[in-house]
Amino acid sequence: MIRFDKVTKTYPGQKRAALDRVDLEINKGEFVFLVGSSGSGKSTFLRLILREARPTSGHVYVAGKEINKLSSWKVPKLRRQLGTVFQDFRLLPNKTVFENVAYALEVIGKPRDEIKRLVPETLDLVGLDGKGHRRPDELSGGEQQRVAIARAYVNRPMILIADEPTGNLDPTTSVGIMKLLDRINREDTTVLMATHDSSIVDQMRKRVIELDEGRVIRDEARGIYGYEN
């Protein structure tokens, strides 16, 4: 589903590589935590998958496509197969919950009847049934993140990328969000989550990839946040 083949990324003006000869593969339906301290290369890793940046050398394959060879006009098509969730939710404050989720379908030209069917279905899935008419400022942090997940998932992407999705949430709410991501993963969606939240990683016991100064220093099938004694 995602393959990094000796990928190095060096930003212009920087001496040190943000990613240094990263070589790994994430299979369809996997749930993967990406961990590492700030500046370890997690964001660059995600940016390369989203084709927001291109590798300096090496090859990145996403959903069967080598994305550094992908022409610009094909990038939107690639991104329709990816859902993205951020720490700061990035909801549109002037739109209701329903409109926020529907927006992701409207801008890719989905027909109205399909939007009317998919949005309530997805809101139900994320546990926001009956809250479609509310605005983001009328919701709790956890609910706002659920809206963001609904928006990312409404088009049924093959891969869900979550960048610190629990970073702004309390532990109890975080558990709810992780249950939701786990449920989405069980629907055969690959989930890649960058996080600093050790308790969640430890609790979930999923594959853990640790980056340090741009290099993969650990890749464990059922890992924890730190090293096991």
Partner: protein, 304 residues
């Protein structure tokens, strides 16, 4: 499409003052460009009427010509032939065109038909009141003395006019007005382009959240650009319509309301069909003015 139109409505509402200022600048620049083009059309029309500004106009005698060379009345065929031969043989002459009395009459009808007094005057004139004329192009426009002195004394020649002397000041004025209008329009067009670019930058900033989401969820470049392009198109069409309105007012109040009546004897003035042609040209200019910077700037600021 509905989503794009919603974006457009939101964008126009959010940027009302910027859009209005853009429309005002574009309208004024387009109006000035229109006036410049209209003056150019006027200059062409005047040239068509009088002949090229660098030509000599040789008018043969009519039955009523008062010149001493016209004592025999209207120029005879032999006299015409002699004048034509003299022009052909003169080394200063490059070539010459013949305008028949009928053509001169038709021109006069157009000129005099612009005013009431002219129309009355026309009632007393017929084709035979007008001479056959030769519009002579010289090899060197400065060297006309030889031709004038040779031809003006020939029998059958009523008068020889140097259009350069006659029309020089008029063409000079038209030229200056045209360039002043076009130069001012040029400056305002630069201002309008900068305003388009500024509006796009501000809109892109105001909508950075929506644009970010659109890019992430895989909206096509066209979908992201469309509200900006449509906003510019709306501004361009309104500006073109306002400029056309301004030009129509100029035609109605100045050309038809004043120039044709008061200065109808000088030349034939531009008509509505000239104005419509100019309106079409400025509409195309408005579209280019709005769309080219919009495409360039959206690529730059939206990263699409």
């Amino acid at each position: 499409m509905r989503a794009i139109l919603n974006e457009l409505r939101a964008s126009l509402t959010r940027n009302t003052s910027m859009t209005i200022s853009l429309i005002v600048t574009m309208s004024v620049s387009l109006l000035l460009a229109s006036l410049g083009l209209l003056i150019q059309a006027q200059a062409e029309r005047t040239e068509q009427y009088f002949g090229d500004r660098l030509q000599l106009q040789v008018n043969l005698c009519t039955k009523n010509s008062p010149a001493a060379t016209c004592v025999g009345g209207a120029a005879t065929d032999e006299q015409k032939q002699a004048v034509q031969t003299a022009l052909q043989d003169n080394p200063e002459v490059k070539d010459f065109a013949v305008r028949s009395p009928k053509e001169n009459y038709a021109q006069a009808r157009e000129l005099l038909g612009q005013t009431d007094t002219g129309r009355k005057q026309l009632e007393t004139l017929g084709v035979d009141s007008f001479p056959e004329s030769y519009f002579v192009t010289l090899k060197d426009p400065q060297q006309f003395d030889g031709v004038v002195s040779e031809v003006s004394g020939m029998d059958g020649v009523g008068n020889v006019n140097s259009l350069r002397d006659l029309l020089g000041p008029l063409f000079e004025m038209l030229d200056k007005m045209q360039w002043a209008a076009l130069a001012t329009a040029g400056l305002l067009i630069i201002a309008a382009i900068l305003q388009v670019s500024n509006t796009i930058r501000m809109t892109a900033f105001a909508r950075r959240r929506e644009i970010g989401i659109m890019r992430l969820v895989g909206a096509s470049s066209w979908h992201i650009q469309a509200p900006f392009v449509l906003e510019s198109l709306v501004a361009a069409f309104i500006s073109a319509a306002l400029a056309a309105g301004g030009l129509a007012a100029f035609m109605h109040f100045v050309v038809y309301g004043y120039l044709r009546d008061t200065l109808g004897r000088i030349t034939t003035w531009v008509r509505w069909e000239d104005a419509f042609l100019v309106m079409g040209m400025t509409t195309v200019l408005a579209l280019l003015l709005a769309l080219v910077p919009t495409f360039v700037m959206t690529r730059k600021y939206l990263d699409v």
